[in-house]
Amino acid sequence: MDLARYHRLRSAYYRLEGQRCTSCQAIQFPPRTACRICRERSLEPHRLSGRGIVYSHAEVAQAPRGFAAPYVVALVKLEEGLLLTAQLTDVEPEDVVIGLPAEMVTRRLQEHGPHGYLVYGYKFRPVLHRRKAS
């Protein structure tokens, strides 16, 4: 992807920043120009929690240019109720099951060659550390 496009995506890629509609309170990710529920344009930035469970998964054997197979991709159902598409990391493909609790981490998504720039963004991994109930 072009540098400028990557730069535009940084708040979504680095901080999982979506939107909340101030009219109907719906949360959406990816960001849009209008609310996907009520279609109003009254949107404000909203950071997602990054916690969820695996809703579906697949292992990519034939990667598009710029990616090195094999890797696992998934639909993750976030705490907020949304689905989100991402790579899974730090997990063996055979250990991935629907329902696996997962958390967002920031990892290298792309490397544009040894002299090109690096794209950082979100992936999900099995939850590393269970937070003790406070």
Partner: protein, 383 residues
Amino acid sequence: MRNVYIVGVGQTPVGEHWDRGLRELGASAVRDAMADARVERAGALYVGNMMGGCLNGQENVATLLADAAGLLPIEAWKVEAACASGGAAVRAAALAVGSGAHDVAIAVGVEKMTDGMPETVTAGLATAADQDFEASHGLSFVALSALLMRRYMHETGCSREAFAPFAVNAHANGVTNAKAMFREEITAEEFTRSPIVASPIGILDAAPVCDGAAAVVVCSDDALRGHHKPVRVAASAVATATIDLASREDILTLAAAATSAAKVYEKARLGPKDIDLFEAHDAFTIITALSLEACGFARRGEALAIAAKGCIGRDGGCVPLSTFGGLKARGHPVGASGAYQIVEAALQLRGEAGANQVPGARRALTQSIGGHGSVAVTHVLES
């Protein structure tokens, strides 16, 4: 809107055409369709093509084909709706004639996929997905289908094996289609054992990378001639859904397919029971299953059951599917497939399908889908 009739069809074989590029494939299909219709000229040419730019470095594809086919200075422009581009081109032609803008129009779908290395083609196909939130995360087209298939299997409890009938049926129908890329039968056993491409999708779940072009000539009542065997476009409709899979209300409902099907059923005043054959967008067996459910041929989660019962076969099936091999066996030159579906449905309704004939076929449903159900182009054709 005026009546619209398909009066000419043309198609190249689907395969790896090392000796023919975009212009040769497209122009030959156009001229073949015109010859079939016995027309010397037309009012407009609509070209369906998805990846001319990113794979072949060629935009302005409609001008290219108009020039190569000897049709200048015809009105011509490219229609793009991802893998539904061919279907959308037919819709554009139908709208042009139906609205009275033209009396005769040509729609052609063309795609040249085999020149590029696999990773380039994979990246090209991914341009149908959400670049920022799917493709840039490494999601390939196949992987998105795999996500759908795994969730479907999870919710219905079915196995991979249960999808076999779609592939087996498509290949069986491809055997007698001289234009098909794959002309050999496969067994359910071979399907089950086929190498995995993106678990749970195996090689035999997926349509091949290939080249091809298919074209139709459509015209108004006034332009009909005695030698024509007209097939009427009873209805056509297009609908869209979210570009990214994750934003769907329910990923296992192909909402765009369902909406466009509902619209054509309403316009043509008929329902699934009135359809004699269905050229579905069988790029992946999971999409075939979901298309059957979206278009009302099976209830949610039951597409595999009706396939297992033999409903999709050409002879005596309740919904004959992929009658010439479909995207699976005839092939899926992506921007052309929607046009191939129309050509094949028209041949069926003319009674010219030869060994592939669905007996007594009078009404056909064709559905061309772009992305993973993000856009659907549906037609009902009547003899």
